[in-house]
């Protein structure tokens, strides 16, 4: 597998995770999937007749099939997708499928794209699990067939399996999986199994119902916030008003006077108020009197930081991609076009703010969380608690959204909870709850960026040169993994989507200035493509306009080496009626972008409002994610990605004044609401390519598609996000 990683041109998270795992003490599990099945080591299952054929599938005598998900379900539908793959090869009946979260154990459940790390991200869950889970399902099926053959004394070749029933036509025998589980459990696990011909798939490619739909409509779905343990206390933490400040002094007495407050403890991130319930903890925090030491803290404002970025952009940065002679081609161009783009900090703001439950007891640490980064969290939790990673047990619950926030290299919320638990009596479980204000002001934002682009056209209007400069913080920089992961001054997550621009332009240069700012940053759904798709797809539209060409035709002509980009572009344009006349006041814009090996094109139809704002009426989306496992989940992810991305470009910004975050809750960190959601039409490209992810790739194209529609309607380019800040809209 490592060979495959090396071949992958995309640097970003994949490379980071391999290095980070190697760097973090105790995490070097060294597991590599070689096509074999990790065994599920539990005698208990064999004893009660359950067939645990491997780490991913258990078949009970009650005829249920339990699929263990190594990935976090945070809305993307991964429980359903992973279970579909197993059920397909097992020939199970969908109604008998259950899904459970796998324990944290990188030796069994590592993400095959992340090396020896268990974690969810980079839209990789289906892509890395597809072959592994097909084999897991086929192995279990082979054991059931073998058990039936032995029991019935018939030849395996005459046995068929359909919808959870094993049958032998000649003898007329049949049995359920549950009937055979106990007998199959005693058999050796086969090494080689035959996978189905995809032409015979009956579940993959159909929209089986989501396994979590019911529990998410009757209030029974369990999130970390819902965990209740005997004797559990609740903690909220007072954190400094500026990033990097420290506690100078605390007057805890007024907080301790609040009924229900049990303890006030200083932790590295601030001061924790621990109480018998959330409300008492929150009231106690209000009453606290903390003096902060700002020495070494970030005290600049975002306007000041952006000015510095603009000055930096005057000079060349670290080279990222260079082909041909861009400077010479620009100098000789018949026409040059230039533009600059500004991107703000963005908070993830998942509906469930950060929270977890921790219980420390002697040599055991237990964590209940919507955990996205189990191996990294085990390592950080172990370091904070003084234990070994394998003494840290993580119960992964479903997460109320994440968008990247719960996967962070320092495990901020988990480590904070551990420091609180350390201060309490041994074994007392503590639930840490971040409020919405803590979330919006707590950092780990999508970084602020400044981009400049220059393009040159020849006399025929063909693009001959493209120069792209990016200025901003590195997501990896400043973490303990910087020395391992930032190569030649370039963090791949800063430039993905720009460095691999698909357009056929002979002279092309991309460079990067990585800045040092004390505002903590993190990947935000679609990572680098959240800004690179915007700048490149708005700018290519500008270049097309300068060349006097239709934006779709102009792109098509430059995509001859990228057929999958071209195909989604053509499909979206066709389905949207590109080129047909729209009523007065309406306009269309288009964008196409690849992220995480999935190709998405979107055409946005907008109406300019009398007050100058934009109403997005309809979005036509074409997606190529290889083989479609569950078309309805793919549609849902495109719809959701469009809404999430649209809210981001229209309204999203975190701003700082003298280092203090100015926003605090949804009244001033505005997100998309129902009346602002466009109609969405999704078209999936039929494909037999390996399946790729859909959690993130729906996000990047919507911003530039809307911006290009605004240009078509008004002749104005939105180059400073969000739209509400841009003077031109």
């Amino acid at each position: 597998m490592l060979k495959n990683f090396a071949k992958d041109p995309r640097p970003s998270r994949r490379r980071f995770l391999q290095g980070s795992a190697a760097a973090a003490a105790g995490l070097t599990v060294g597991f590599r999937w070689n096509g074999g099945m990790p065994k599920f080591a539990s005698a208990a299952y064999a004893a009660d007749g359950t067939l645990a054929a491997n780490a991913f599938v258990r078949i009970g005598t009650d005829n249920t099939v339990t699929v263990l998900s190594k990935h976090l379900e945070m809305g993307q539908g991964v429980y359903t997708g992973l279970a579909t793959i197993v059920a397909e090869e097992l020939d199970a009946d969908w109604a008998q499928i259950r899904v459970e979260s796998a324990p944290a154990d990188a030796s069994l459940y590592n993400n095959l794209q992340f090396g020896p790390v268990q974690g969810t991200g980079g839209s990789s869950s289906i892509a890395n699990s597809y072959d592994q889970l097909r084999k897991a399902g086929a192995t279990a099926r082979a054991m059931l067939v073998e058990a039936a053959a032995k029991d019935w004394v018939v030849d395996r070749a005459g046995i068929t399996v359909e919808k959870g029933v094993v049958s032998h036509a000649t003898s007329g025998r049949s049995a359920t999986f549950g009937d055979l589980a106990g007998k199959a459990a005693g058999l050796p696990v086969p090494v080689d199994v035959t996978l189905k011909d995809p032409g015979r798939f009956t579940l993959i490619g159909t929209s089986v119902p989501r396994v979590d739909a019911k529990s998410k409509t009757d209030g029974t779905a369990q999130f970390a916030l819902d965990v209740r343990l005997p004797g559990m206390l609740t903690a909220v933490v007072a954190r400094p008003p500026v990033f990097g400040a420290r506690v100078k002094s605390v007057d805890a007495a007024p907080a301790k006077a609040v009924k229900g407050v049990v303890e006030v403890v200083q932790v590295p991130s601030g001061v924790a108020v621990v109480a018998t319930n959330f409300w008492a903890a929150a009231k106690g925090r209000e009453a606290l009197n903390v003096q902060w030491d700002d020495a070494g803290a970030e005290t600049r404002g975002t306007a000041e930081i952006m000015s510095e970025y603009k000055a930096l952009a005057e000079k060349p940065g670290m080279p990222v991609r260079s082909q041909g002679d861009t400077a010479k081609a620009l100098a000789g161009a018949a026409k040059t076009i230039t533009a600059a783009f500004e991107f703000p900090y963005l908070a993830h703001a998942p509906m469930e703010p950060l929270d977890c439950v921790v219980r420390l007891d002697g040599d055991r640490c237990e964590i209940w969380a919507g955990d996205q980064f189990q191996t990294i969290d085990q390592g950080n939790a172990a370091a904070a608690s003084g234990l070994k990673p394998d003494q840290v047990r993580i119960h992964t619950l479903m997460a109320g959204g994440s968008f990247g926030r719960r996967a962070n290299t320092v495990s901020d919320y988990i480590v904070e909870a551990i420091h609180v638990a350390k201060a309490l009596d041994r074994g007392t479980p503590v639930k840490l709850v971040w409020t919405r204000e803590d979330d919006i002001r707590g950092g780990r934002y999508r970084p602020m960026y400044y981009h400049t682009l220059t393009a040159g056209l020849d006399v025929q209007g063909r693009p001959v040169a493209w120069q792209h400069r990016i200025v901003g913080q590195s997501i990896i920089g400043g973490t303990p993994f910087e020395s391992v992961m930032v190569k030649d001054g370039v963090d791949g997550t800063s430039v993905e989507g720009a460095a691999n621009l698909p357009y056929d332009i002979p002279n092309l240069a991309v460079d990067l200035h990585t800045t040092k700012v004390g505002v903590p940053v993190l990947w935000w759904r679609a990572v680098g493509s959240t800004h690179t798709a915007y700048s490149t797809e708005v700018f290519i539209d500008e270049v097309a306009h300068a060349a006097g060409k239709d934006p779709v035709e102009f792109r098509r002509a430059l995509l001859s080496h990228h057929p999958r980009h071209k195909a989604v572009l053509e499909l979206a344009a066709e389905k949207a009626g590109w080129g047909t006349k729209l009523p007065e006041g309406k306009a269309r814009g288009v964008a196409v972008h690849e992220s995480f090996s999935t190709f998405v094109a979107q055409v946005a139809e907008i109406t300019m409002q009398p007050d100058g704002s934009v109403k997005v009426d309809r979005v036509v989306c074409a997606v190529d994610c290889g083989r479609a496992i569950n078309p309805d989940v793919i549609r849902a992810q495109m719809e959701g990605g469009i809404g999430f991305g649209l809210g981001g470009v229209l309204y999203g910004e975190v701003t700082l004044d003298k280092g203090e975050v100015l926003q605090s809750n949804f009244h001033d960190y505005r997100v998309l609401r129902i009346e602002e959601m466009p109609k969405v039409e999704v078209h999936i490209v039929p494909s037999t390519e390996a399946p790729t992810g859909v959690g993130e790739p729906g996000v990047p194209p919507i911003g530039p598609a809307v911006a290009n529609a605004v240009f078509a309607a008004t002749g104005r380019r939105v180059r400073s996000l969000p739209f509400t800040r841009d003077q031109s809209v």
């Binding site: 945070m74 998410k216 849902a636 809210g647």
Partner: protein, 153 residues
């Protein structure tokens, strides 16, 4: 001081700080965790419950203010509109992460109880206070229309 009210049809008496928001009283003292905390400021609607049949934001409703009244949470909804909404939510597969959906459903049920055949504008007005960061809005709208159709039939 104990606060007494009717919760999902049953009388309850909770010994809590009277200023405590109904949300936390219901979650941590009555043990019903289907109602969620999203913002604490009546900005997102994740905590929506029914008070005497009307949707309210329980995160900003002091528990003392519901003394003697009837509160319904996601665990306790019933009736034609509730059944139609929950069925439509599942059939159309509205939820993604699911965290906001209790609140969405409570708002949708209240809407349909008062306006059995809502227009898109009615839906916008009734549902604008419920944020979904997964942006399941397209399906929320479809499911409300579908539930309205079910209720007619």
């Amino acid at each position: 001081m104990a606060v007494s009210f009717v919760l999902n049809g049953e009388p309850v008496s909770l010994d809590v700080d009277p200023e405590m928001p109904l949300l936390w009283a219901v979650r941590e003292f009555a043990g019903l965790t289907g109602t969620k905390f999203g913002c604490g400021a009546a900005q997102c609607g994740a905590c929506t419950v029914h008070l005497e049949g009307q949707p309210v934001r329980s995160c900003s409703t002091p528990v003392s203010s519901v003394e003697g009244q009837s509160v319904t949470t996601i665990e306790g909804i019933s009736g034609k509109a509730a059944a139609a909404v929950q069925a439509a939510w599942q059939r159309i597969e509205v939820p993604q992460c699911g965290y906001c959906q209790s609140g969405q459903i409570m708002s949708a049920v209240a809407l349909l109880e008062q306006t059995p055949k809502p227009t898109d504008d009615d839906i916008n007005s009734a549902m604008s206070g419920n944020i979904c960061r997964c942006a399941t809005y397209v399906r929320i709208r479809s499911a409300i229309h579908a539930a309205a159709t079910t209720m007619e039939g």
